[in-house]
């Protein structure tokens, strides 16, 4: 028979320090919040002024009267945008592979080389695409090629890091089996490693293409080709009907590409 013993949870260890640390953290967070809000001088009276409301009344409805007559030229530029994104992400998908292998600690067993790889990828990731685009426009002129370079370099950073994680999660036992059968290092790469990582590499590359379509839509604002150029012109001419039309095309295209890539990615892995 079970004895009627009262069961109590052991008391949770609680030190004064944890409480003090929590209070300090809370004070710091609240203080940063107050500090940031007070330093960006928000003019509440302007936000809710009648002038702001009038501007909205004037401009917003014009977005919803898209300039249909511009459809063909806008679609032309949209295709250019997609081509920029595609070429750029394809180049990145290839460039990222050697860097990812360099970073993967289970393949390159040398902390120093791993760190170099990580450092390169980190440095590349630190640049926003639009900054890269400005640099490449200065280097190769204001055309789509500058956009391709910006997308390629910008995507390499993210893809390299994701690829490295994929490589680090592979089943290393397979490499042991191939090694035991007398295969050399390159054969182990092609028969043991690549079949494991390629589908995920491809999946990430497609995902990155999705992001790149969005990113390359705005690159044109700094002259790096694509639909962004049209946005700048239309905006400078206060041609809100055309801006509305451009937005409509971008939204539709991006949605379609998201759907397609989601479908492909689901079937890949």
């Amino acid at each position: 028979m079970a004895k009627n013993v009262e069961i109590t949870l052991p008391t949770k260890p609680r030190s004064k320090w944890t409480l003090i640390k929590r209070i300090i953290t809370l004070i710091i967070i609240v203080w940063i919040y107050i500090w940031t809000i007070s330093s960006v001088t928000i003019k509440w009276d302007v936000i809710f002024s009648s002038r702001t409301m009038e501007n909205f009344d004037r401009i917003i409805p014009r977005f919803f009267q898209p300039a249909w007559q511009e459809t063909s030229s806008i679609f032309g530029k949209m295709f250019e945008t997609i081509f920029i994104a595609y070429t750029g992400s394809l180049a990145a998908a290839v460039l990222a592979v050697p860097l990812a292998f360099l970073c993967a600690t289970n393949i390159v067993r040398n902390k120093f080389l791993n760190n170099i790889g990580m450092w390169i990828l980190g440095a590349v990731r630190a640049f926003p695409e639009i900054i890269l685009a400005i640099i490449f426009v200065a280097a190769v002129g204001p055309n789509a090629f500058a956009g391709v370079l910006a997308i390629a370099i910008g995507s390499t950073g993210m893809l390299g890091k994701l690829y490295a994680e994929v490589i680090e999660s592979i089943d290393m036992d397979i490499m042991e089996a191939l090694e035991a059968s007398g295969a050399n290092k390159l054969q182990i790469l092609f028969y043991g490693i690549l079949p494991q990582v390629l589908p995920e590499f491809l999946s990430y590359a497609i995902y990155r293409f999705e992001i790149d379509v969005r990113a390359s839509s705005v690159l044109g604002i700094v002259g790096a080709g694509g639909i962004g150029t049209l946005i700048t012109f239309a905006y400078m001419n206060r041609n809100w009907e055309e801006v509305g039309m451009i937005l409509l095309v971008i939204i539709i295209t991006v949605t379609i590409i998201d759907q397609i890539s989601g479908f492909i990615r689901k079937r890949l892995v």
Binding site: I174, A177, L178, P195
Partner: protein, 259 residues
């Protein structure tokens, strides 16, 4: 023939994997190594194809001291040694055919293998070996569509495609259920008898060891504590090897099921 001469292995963390092993294994023998986990069975078997490197002694495989070989020579000798693993170690996303033909990599030039060029004979050899383990109908299936027992049979076919003189099997049935375990052991035994391939299997199930082995080697704490024909082995022998009484979990059971 395999000969261990005063072979010792100390791991970098100080663990003694093998202690002064001296033993000869003859061509065509079916040897089962038994012992508790941590006894050094895996280290023993992996020393033979240099997946681990003994720190002392000489280990002759086909009268080459495998401890002195490196690079190309080591790879060449490894082509003669097939290995079967507890977790099958197939590339799960590749087809059965691609897994089996990868047994030929040691014989194939790097460029040819990268472009997946194997001769007609090699492809037929791979297919014949799949037939030997009765799984030829799964030729073009992906490896991850197969059950554990089927995957282990594919890994046997991969090893056969290597045309080895020696097969090492490191706990080949530890992840399988009893009937499948016996099936896999029967294939190994059959191959051993038909092709006279020396076979060394790590097992910790005493009933399977007695049923399939010609010769049983018992290990404890990195040393060989028993070596003799399977016919002389009784439960008493195992109690001596294990250093404790025999429990239910030391037996696989299901020996009466014939596959």
């Amino acid at each position: 023939m395999i000969e261990f001469q005063n072979v010792s292995l100390v791991y970098p963390n100080g663990t003694q994997g093998l202690k002064d092993i001296n033993i000869k294994i003859n061509q065509g023998e079916f040897v089962v190594i038994v012992g508790l986990s941590g006894a050094g069975k895996s280290t023993f078997i992996r020393s033979i194809n240099r997946l681990v490197t003994p720190t002392d002694g000489a280990l002759l495989v086909d009268s080459n001291d495998i401890l002195r070989l490196k690079g190309k020579e080591l790879r060449k000798l490894r082509t003669k040694i097939g290995m079967i693993f507890q977790n099958y170690n197939l590339v799960r996303r590749s087809t059965v055919m691609k897994n089996v033909i990868s047994g030929r990599l040691g014989y194939t030039g790097t460029w040819k293998s990268i472009f997946n060029i194997f001769s007609k004979e090699e492809q037929l050899l791979a297919y014949e070996n799949l037939k030997r383990v009765n799984i030829e109908e799964k030729l073009y299936n992906r490896a991850d569509e197969l059950s554990g027992g089927q995957q282990q049979r594919v890994s046997i076919a991969r090893v056969l495609t290597q045309q080895p003189k020696l097969i090492l099997a490191d706990e080949p049935v530890a992840s399988l259920d009893p009937p499948t375990s016996h099936q896999v052991m029967q294939y190994l035994k059959q191959i051993n008898q038909e092709d006279h391939i020396t076979t060394i299997v790590n097992l910790h199930f005493i009933d399977m060891a007695i049923e399939y082995a010609d010769r049983i080697i018992g290990m404890r704490a990195g040393e060989i504590v028993f070596d003799g024909p399977a016919s002389e082995v009784t439960e008493k022998t195992f109690e001596e090897i294990y250093g404790r009484s025999i429990r239910e979990e030391d037996k696989r059971g299901g020996g009466e099921i014939d596959g």
